[in-house]
Symmetry: C2
Subunit: 205 residues, 2 copies
């Protein structure tokens, strides 16, 4: 199993705990009490910087131009930056020195398998992360099929009911499983201890 | 989650333990030290009688005619009898007073999705159980698709590597998850405590 345990953190207090249990730390800067100095997010473990907009499930409410500028500055101190699929190619081109996790969120539905394939095949990131709202089991099939056909894809359905698709994604070869330290930052997210325990009990790790 | 935890037992000692932790007890009579009196398998929990042939992963080596006769006699004291897909319709018709779990095993490969559909659609049992050898992730997709499209199907891939498909099958609505009490009676099988722990940690039960 090659996947890494990502722990999303909302503060430096969480980050210092996460260092001990995560393979990768995701700084969810939109959830931080205030934006830190750029170089404060430098850390000993591989890391991701993410500033999530409200419409993508985050809390950032500033100007988009400013958000991208912030991401650019923070990205000098991390390994990965999270950029949304909707962003233009030229935005992606401005992040040359850091790996990119391209993220697609859909809080309404899970698009058709063909649409998901289009998103994956048009990806500009090193990794593509697809998180969509699940309505039924047919959405599970789409996700499983996608994970089977493509590498470097993280794909799962949002919500408590489909939380298990996060475990499934990891088992089927996703590079990352996104976990919380304790309180979930997204619905259905497992804390890192639970995720490890589940995968260990299943004989997967 | 409507599924039941089946515990497969190899002796009466195991059966008496299983009664406390299982929803359903499967008497794997081919694994019993010797064949018990017919009515000794009557038990307080719902139960299944199974006499598995060598070619299906069991240890029964007697005559087929005798095996069917034994199944008929034991089936008076249980809720379900396990009958293999290969058996003729007339055999199925002889088990009128008991529910039937029709089982399909393939130790070589997982047939195409279309073949699996044929097996499911031609089923004569109340439940169909499909256990096949997995080669790759494309076999996981077949299983997931099948579980999504049909009810009353238990379907998983054999072997340690694909053990997680047993959990997946349960999550996707299988009526049963087959567990051991401690030592697995099939490769990749979880013991009932582990299976419950996994599903509980996942937030599924």
């Amino acid at each position: 199993m090659k996947g890494s345990f990502v722990v999303s953190v909302k503060s430096f207090a969480e980050a210092s705990q996460a260092v001990r249990v995560a393979d990768v730390i995701e700084f969810r800067l939109d959830l931080f009490p205030s934006l830190p100095e750029y170089d404060r997010i430098r850390t000993e473990k591989p890391s991701i910087v993410t500033i999530r907009l409200k419409e993508d499930g985050g809390r950032y409410e500033g100007e988009e131009e400013e958000r991208l500028e912030l991401l650019r500055k923070y990205s000098r101190y991390v390994d990965y930056v999270d950029l949304e699929t909707r962003l233009d190619d030229e935005v992606f081109l401005k992040f040359e020195k850091v790996k990119i996790i391209e993220s697609y969120h859909n809080f309404t539905e899970t698009p058709s398998y063909e649409e998901l394939v289009d998103i994956v095949e048009a990806k500009r990131g090193d990794v593509i992360k697809i998180a969509t709202m699940g309505a039924g089991k047919e959405d599970v099939v789409k996700i499983v099929k996608l994970l089977t056909e493509y590498d470097d894809v993280v794909a799962f359905l949002m919500g408590r009911k489909f939380a298990y698709t996060r475990i499934l994604s990891f088992i089927l070869g996703s590079p990352f499983i996104y976990c919380s330290l304790s309180t979930p930052v997204a619905p259905g997210q497992y804390d890192v201890y639970t995720a490890r325990k589940i995968l260990k009990s299943m004989g997967v790790i």
